[in-house]
């Protein structure tokens, strides 16, 4: 960890490695679960330009951009 890292907001004091490793493990397990069919199908439709589903909760807010 360098001063430059600190200046950029990089992590300075790491978590306890045991906590961090468990966090990562849990996160990776969730990320690694098989994608449900509806999500896979949605992504396929979007990439092919065939999806006209509207999001339920409105447009992306200004702070999202």
């Amino acid at each position: 960890m360098t001063d430059d890292d600190s200046a950029k907001g990089r992590r300075k004091a790491p978590l306890d490695p045991r906590i961090e490793s468990n966090l990562k493990r849990v996160y990776e397990e969730a990320a690694g679960e098989e994608m449900p069919e509806r999500l896979t199908a949605l992504l396929d439709r979007l990439r092919s330009g065939r999806d006209d589903t509207e999001p339920e909760s409105g447009d992306v807010r200004e702070e999202d951009r």
Binding site: E20, N22, A30, L42
Partner: protein, 185 residues
């Protein structure tokens, strides 16, 4: 491959990370996928407004987080892990190395306030910097650091961790985590 096609491919590649973050936000598998679906739809519509060269994952996480709290307000989603189902689902693999018991860890993690859990996931698991996490959460960098510090202190107390508790299994766990770094890039 065009620039747009590359961006779309990168977008799709971030969906597993969105699912992991959604799981921690909603603490429910079905709601998590509802949230990811909603996030994907919103973000795809807004994809032309994504600034090339900026952090796509951070952009998507920000949209997902805002979508989550928007849905919470509209639908009054319940996010309590009433039966411990979330904790049980997240890690069903038994510990074999004597390291920190995962169920104990998850039980302790669940007791943390929402904003502390969020900070831990963003920085400790998803690999975002403090600055990136602060932008995602819409708060100051110092606030993220403070939340992390309080979360770390609380977990250390709950799990009764100390230097003397260092066990051989930690090295293996750390190596496992380091072997699959989760970059925010």
């Amino acid at each position: 491959m065009t620039e747009r096609e590359q961006l779309e491919a990168d977008f799709v590649g971030e969906v597993p990370a969105l699912r992991a973050f959604a799981r921690f936000l909603t603490r429910d598998a079905a709601q998590a996928d509802d949230l990811v679906q909603e996030t994907v739809l919103k973000a795809w519509v807004a994809l032309d407004r994504f600034e090339p060269g900026s952090n796509l994952r951070a952009w998507l996480f920000t949209i997902q987080r805002n979508t989550f709290y928007s849905l919470i307000r509209k639908r009054k989603w319940e996010v309590e892990d009433k039966d411990g189902e979330h904790a049980a689902r997240l890690s069903q693999k038994p510990e074999q190395d004597g390291a920190m018991d995962m169920m104990d860890f998850l039980a302790a993690f669940e007791t943390l306030p929402e904003e502390q859990r969020e900070a831990l996931i963003l920085v400790g698991a998803a690999g975002f910097s403090h600055e990136e996490a602060s932008k995602i959460c819409g708060c100051a960098v110092g606030t993220v650091k403070s939340r992390l510090n309080r979360a770390r202190t609380r977990l250390t107390e709950l799990l009764d961790l100390g230097p003397e508790d260092e066990v051989a299994g930690d090295a293996a766990m750390s190596a496992l985590a380091a072997s699959q770094p989760l970059s925010a890039d």
